[in-house]
Assembly symmetry: C2
Homo-oligomer: 570 residues x 2
């Protein structure tokens, strides 16, 4: 195998593919250089003067190493890995460190296996992090549990690259044996452990790092970044759809810049489609004044070094031929993308088959509930005063307000008020669990909304002012195998969007999905959901029982500040 | 295990050892910081404010990560690994990438195993590179052959860290299948391959790199360094006893400095003892104007990154507690050295037992020859004119001069002339091979000199003006199991120094060995060896059939320029 590389490198035989007359980024000395880039098989074999069986003229282009996304949840795009790849590869991303935290909370290891296998048909290297926190909290019913023993067993799998973001930092800092076992298992397997440690400093950070954790993508202040890097961490510059910390780049210095890497974490299909992926991060960084060469190094060599991806992230002999040819270092418009030596995208469009979908039974039909009826949504209150959840637009932090609610026949009556019923219906184990709450200020009227995305256990979250509509919404979600639904009580119509993969992602192509998704969202606004909310996705965080203040899970109403379940009666 | 780190890091329990009030180097941001360094077991658990069961006041000291030598042949010190460690650990070196090329050419894999096992008792991490070129050339008889299959088998061993410097660059560039097999085996095992590629550029360098080679310690010019780094290599800054390229440091820039690492390659015991190891390199670099912080980073973090030594080379939580506390960043005098959390040296003296020696039979008694007699050194010439080897002082390149030599009874007579007989006696396989040559201008008279160090196969190299003395010298070397010898024909005295380990190294302590070695060298000069030569070590390169011009091996006289054996008769 080496022989064919060596012979082509030496010029004895033609290379299979040569990018002619390129200006290319040498990430090792941070210089733009000129030359041909010769490729044989999946590797770059030389830079200099070469001729190839196929040649691509790159005279007016700048060739960069393919971008590496240091941390991403594919599920946040609501797209299959194949469709996700069809959006990001043409943008220049050739490797991602993917943490399938969401689908694994629904499907267990079958979720990891699915992401891994589905990625095989696309020209994108998906390095899979085993989700470390399944379930994310003990206060809800998830589709799976990965305890210390499960982690110990699965972390050794060849298709598992490392251990995903360790969100349970109190568990590390207080050395919970259940948590320690997971960390020790990953370390023993020689695999990297990603961190998630917002605003942790000093001794607490030292303790967290003694869990063998390498990275953090939650930093936002210069002080935090400085301390984390000084303690050996790699720090992500994040360009998610909602969560952003591109400003981290301004804390880079000559001495510390090698410890900065790029990631997107959570990025919606619309943003991927319209704005881009890491190319958009680079564009934004450069527009904000970052040195373009340094920014690209963060997205390539630094990320490769952080994750121990040898022979990747640079343009040099024996390096993996993952390359993107862009127009300039301002717009980063990708003209050509080469993955493992093959031209896979041109002018922003994929050249690979995007129609194939790997769809195993194990990730389909994941809504396991009995047929529900109106009576399942009866909410008995002791008196008129009750706690209601509220939410700020654009945020995931909820509030708690004491409200007055009338009851009739032993059921709270919310129709005609600014209050809605919320319900979290357990959908994994058929426990019959339904957590119930009140929700104020969302604006929706005349039926029910429902979604099977509800962080992090992804039970069904329902909202409505009519018990029958709520039951219908849940039953429709069961019928379609997950997704989003609206029930209009008045005309009896049910409108839904299917997210057939684990109730989180669609096996459809991005365009059609987005069109239908937008229509459904518009319908929700038409039924009163205030414009300042994301009609469905704002609901998806109401069950995340680690973020203040009042949350609802299938097990009941949860006071995050007191870290305990609480009574709805005020 | 993690629990005890975490609890101490959080301050919940005392650390086992704390370096109090230290100024320490944060290699990640290239800043000196102040704080206590807390250690538990073999790891640093925190920096900040800590108290420990044992505390060492470091108020006036600067604490650095323990140094990492990126490439060294322990054998060049003529010391056992234990004694070698006793000299370099107190200087601040805590990890070495060791290539046991010499002893493996004598003892085969038993040589590697010996270095590995002997290193176990000392507080020095010896990462062992499997020698890639055994034998170094096909023109001599070595003690062992490691062919592609042997490399394939042995590279997988846990105690083998990587593949040693690949000196046979023509073999790579011309894709010799025998060579490719070795490279592919190392790559398949996921192990790093060290390079050795003096003055290789352009397509030839590309081809060499397509062998999967990562490093080079032979660079000397700015142009060469720039090209090698731009093609993804790490470049060593070398501080050997004879081979030096500390000047490489002046080619470091903000952007490329991460690719520079330090090494010593070959360093004699006297230099280690009197001048030092990497501490001396740092001292010299700083004296020559290098930024001290950057220089230390080359000797620590950069080297750890190059060799994939995670959690090493920095002062941060979860990092290996390999530390050296120095007086300042000018003199680098090591006050304390901590290895894996234990204080192992103080004020330049080891605190560990240096008297233990692992001495397996497999590396002892390695001089396998039959008893030789004067007749074995008869040199028959066809006429009076013959080729004689010459050597420049301080160099390893030899010359060829046509000389006139009288013969008597079918044997060249050199006594009383400026010409000596040279002989290389095969000592591994009892082949009886004796290569013979003439050597002009060395100055020695009245007997014979001999040594069992002769690069790279380490046969016996003898020099003399009397056949009987040469036989006696060889026989004494057999008797003592290798070393150096002088035979004085006049008084019949034989003086020798034993190098019992493979005929290359001594199991004695450095002081006594050096004293006796100096006495023997003085005796050689007293018998006429010109002062400009290293009396014994200059001989050790006369058999290195890859360096011009005329060389002698056990298989005969070799013309390096014509790359073929040659007749002694002119």
């Amino acid at each position: 195998m080496f022989e064919k590389y060596i012979k082509a490198a030496g010029g004895e035989v033609k290379s299979s593919l040569v990018l002619k007359n390129a200006t290319y980024l040498d990430v090792f000395t941070a210089k733009l250089r000129k030359g041909d880039i010769a490729i044989v098989g999946e590797k770059i074999v030389g830079v200099g003067e070469y001729s190839g069986e196929t040649e691509i003229d790159c005279s007016n282009l700048i060739v960069l190493p393919g971008y590496i996304d240091g941390h991403v949840h594919i599920e946040s795009s609501q797209l299959s890995p194949e469709e996700f790849a069809s959006l990001i590869v043409p943008r220049g991303t050739t490797t991602i460190i993917a943490d399938p935290h969401e689908i694994t909370n629904v499907c267990g290891m079958a979720g990891c296996e699915y992401i891994s296998k589905a990625s095989e048909s696309v020209p994108l290297d998906v390095k899979l992090q085993l989700p470390s926190c399944v379930p994310a909290t003990p206060f809800e019913t998830s589709g799976a549990i990965l305890d210390g023993k499960d982690i110990e067993k699965n972390i050794k799998n060849d298709y598992i690259f490392g251990l995903g973001e360790f969100m349970n930092y109190p568990g590390v800092v207080y050395s919970d044996p259940y948590v320690i076992k997971k960390l020790e298992a990953a370390h023993a397997a020689g695999k990297i452990i990603d961190g998630h440690a917002p605003a942790i400093y000093g001794h607490e950070l030292n303790a967290y790092l003694c869990g063998g954790i390498s990275t953090d993508h939650e930093c936002v202040t210069g002080e935090e970044i400085e301390e984390k890097i000084s303690k050996g961490m790699y720090v992500h510059i994040r360009h998610g759809s909602s969560t952003q910390n591109l400003g981290n780049a301004k804390f880079m210095t000559d001495a510390n810049s090698r410890r900065f890497i790029l990631c997107t974490d959570d990025r919606h299909a619309a943003d991927l489609k319209e704005k881009g992926h890491l190319d958009d991060a680079l564009r934004r960084l450069v527009a904000d004044g970052a040195d373009p060469v340094r920014a690209v190094i963060c997205a390539t060599l630094n990320c490769a070094e952080c994750y121990g991806l040898k022979w990747r992230g640079g343009i040099a002999p024996f390096y993996l031929a993952d390359l993107v040819a862009v127009d300039d270092l301002k717009n980063f418009n990708a003209k050509y993308v080469i993955k493992s030596g093959k031209l896979v995208a041109k002018d922003g469009a994929p050249l690979f088959d995007t129609s194939k979908r790997y769809l195993p039974e194990s990730v389909l039909n994941t809504v396991h509930i009995k047929e529900l009826t109106a009576d399942d949504f009866i909410l008995k209150l002791k008196g008129k005063k009750a706690k209601a959840m509220t939410i700020e637009p654009g945020g995931v932090v909820t509030g708690c307000e004491i409200v007055e609610v009338e009851s009739k026949n032993g059921d709270a009556v919310v129709a005609g008020t600014d209050i809605l019923k919320l319900a979290v219906v357990e959908r994994h184990k058929m426990t019959g669990n339904i957590g119930k709450a009140l929700f104020k200020g969302y604006g929706f009227k005349g039926g029910a909304l429902g979604i099977t995305i509800a962080h992090d256990s992804h039970n069904i979250i329902l909202l409505g002012d009519d018990n029958g509509s709520m039951a219908k919404a849940a039953n429709r979600l069961k019928e379609i195998g997950g997704g989003m639904v609206i029930v209009d009580r008045e005309n009896g119509e049910i409108h839904s969007l299917t997210l057939d993969i684990a109730g989180l992602m669609s096996s459809r192509e991005a365009d059609g999905l987005q069109r239908d998704s937008r229509a459904l969202i518009e319908r929700a606004h038409a039924m009163g959901v205030k414009r300042e909310y994301e009609a469905f996705m704002s609901l998806a965080f109401l069950s995340l029982a680690v973020i203040p203040k009042l949350k609802i899970t299938d097990a009941g109403l949860f006071d995050v500040e007191k870290f305990t379940f609480t009574d709805i009666n005020a």
